[in-house]
Symmetry: C2
Subunit: 355 residues, 2 copies
């Protein structure tokens, strides 16, 4: 890890409304807590070194083979595993985006090239040596987050499949952590494993609202997954998290995102912010909203909201390519969102009064 | 991870006596369970990305600086972090030992040289280029587990300090996971951070009997720790494990190992096994006992004990340099140990009858 991160809730004693992490925070976890309470003595035994049972359960839930799944300690371990597997490669990273792709690539000595559109990326890819399949390693890696963090934007699925299929010499790494948070079509795990040059990263953190458990996984064709499996540390998923993962998969029905409502709420916030004339909102296809202040600093807004209204937002200034005017929020329930909108308006009013 | 591991309890439905992992299993965890039960909602928030608060607490408990501690997901993450930091180095690994040093070094492209005694190692070190301090990287790394797994042996402390101090061009990595399990003096964390070319690996798993939590840490001079910190993934320690770690440090008094009794028990088992004339026992300075069958295979003994007596031992045949005649046990309570001794005698009797 090189740069800072979003959900710094642990820094604050009295946050009541957390818009800072991109996670829906209104799931009911009572069943999960019961399951974990009963499983506490599992802390006295080693978990499975390679999370084989969890990988089989994940594969079953997606209709793919266990050999096509690697369970990881959050999506983060998947990112580092991929960067490690292809160390010293050329990596194109779509910006602005989650900092860990770049950090992991820097740690594993990749040559990093930021890119800002799929068209430009495909030109690069076309310029790279075109083999039908790579020999020892791909000509280049392309890292995308889709839906993207911090913008919430989704790349057209057909276009994405076309680009991946037509560049077999390149490896595409798509972080699908937010796939549940959009109504736009995206490449599923089942579709993904059929593409020999695509790895998908998934996040139980986002799917089930449980960032504290550190649960993620990647899906890839067996041949690729098998190579990465050998680089993985043993026992990265704790015994309790392993037990929790089984519960979550068995109780997926309890974790249905109210997606339509969430997207409606995101639009309501976007409209309210835009109406202030002080905030530019970026287009989004998910619950995530990237916002830019025309006056003032995101850090000042963040501090004011935390101190005066117990609200946490994400200062987005440390995303590559963004500056101190950017902040990010993730839509939550209607009532919370109203509290956010009103508080932001209030801050803007004070700001305008003081000018 | 490349090779297999010890505690494969998860494979068996009905083990009652687990001698397979090197962990004392009779601590009372009631307070820990209460603490975790109250902390379950922490799964809905991200833990601290770098476990800063945990590192401060660990440093406080050892009387060193927070900058000299890196909290990790088990000792394993520490091993991989060190191997990653010094990738493509020459690594001398004392054998037989825990497989992960070798696996981590292979993954990070070290040139691996197995060594079998400290004298030989120091000859290598002397032959390596001697700078007072290394420039870019050490001339070589030396990996030792002390007390060692699977032998339980401890290297003389004065000799160890002398070797480390007199080879400033080399980096020594000592896995001190079992330091609590011996009465022999070993280098403490406080003494260790004063040596610029020494990293100590520690294991809360072993100190508190909680392998399921995945809690470990390394201690090193600040300069070394700082470099490694940058290579670490964020959020490797789960929110519940973080909470548990705080509880364990605050309640260290409840986790006092009955060391004298444990060493006495180890000796009782060693004597009983030796008296069978069928088992050679290696000398040990800790609760760990490496045993070699003069006839029969360790895997057959292991299977018989699991199937017929609900006892799990460690087939040690996959340790480098050992073969199918080796098994390992860790002494537990008196009653359990008697059950183990009797069951092993029984198996030997059957074996002898069938010859």
């Amino acid at each position: 890890m090189i740069n800072g991160h979003g959900d710094d809730l642990y820094r604050y004693a009295d946050i009541c409304y957390n818009f800072s992490s991109n996670i829906y925070n209104r799931f009911c976890h009572d069943g999960l807590y019961e399951c974990l309470a009963a499983a506490l003595p599992s802390v006295t035994n080693y978990p499975e070194p390679s999370a084989t049972a969890l990988e089989a359960a994940l594969a079953g839930s997606m209709g793919i083979e266990p050999s096509q799944v690697i369970a990881t300690a959050g999506a983060t371990e998947a990112i580092y595993l991929i960067a490690n597997m292809f160390r010293r490669s050329t990596s194109f990273i779509f910006q602005p985006t989650f900092a860990e792709y770049g950090d992991a690539c820097r740690i594993y000595e990749h040559r990093i090239k930021p890119v800002y559109s799929l068209n430009i990326a495909t030109e690069y890819a076309a310029a790279a040596k075109e083999d039908s399949v790579w020999d020892e390693r791909p000509s280049a890696l392309f890292w995308l987050c889709n839906p993207n963090n911090p913008t919430g934007m989704v790349i057209d699925k057909e276009e994405m499949v076309r680009v991946v299929s037509s560049h077999p010499n390149c490896l595409f790494v798509i972080d699908a952590s937010y796939a549940d948070y959009t109504s736009c079509p995206t490449i599923s795990a089942q579709e993904g494993v059929a593409l020999p040059n695509l790895i998908l990263i998934h996040s139980m953190t986002k799917e089930y609202g449980v960032p504290g458990l550190r649960l993620g996984y990647l899906t890839a064709p067996s041949a690729l997954a098998e190579q990465m499996r050998r680089l993985r540390m043993p026992w990265t998923v704790s015994a309790l998290s392993m037990r929790a993962a089984k519960y979550l998969l068995d109780n997926k029905a309890k974790y249905q995102l109210p997606l339509e409502e969430l997207l409606r709420q995101r639009q309501r916030i976007a409209d309210a912010f835009a109406a202030t004339k002080v905030i530019d909102v970026w287009p989004s296809d998910s619950h995530i909203l990237l916002c830019q202040l025309r006056i003032g600093h995101a850090s000042a807004l963040k501090d004011w909201l935390a101190e005066n209204r117990h609200i946490l937002i994400r200062d987005a200034s440390n995303f590559e390519g963004l500056d101190s005017s950017f902040f990010r929020i993730a839509a939550q329930g209607e009532e919370e969102n109203s509290i956010l909108i009103n508080a932001v308006r209030e801050w803007i009013n004070q700001l305008m009064t003081n000018i």
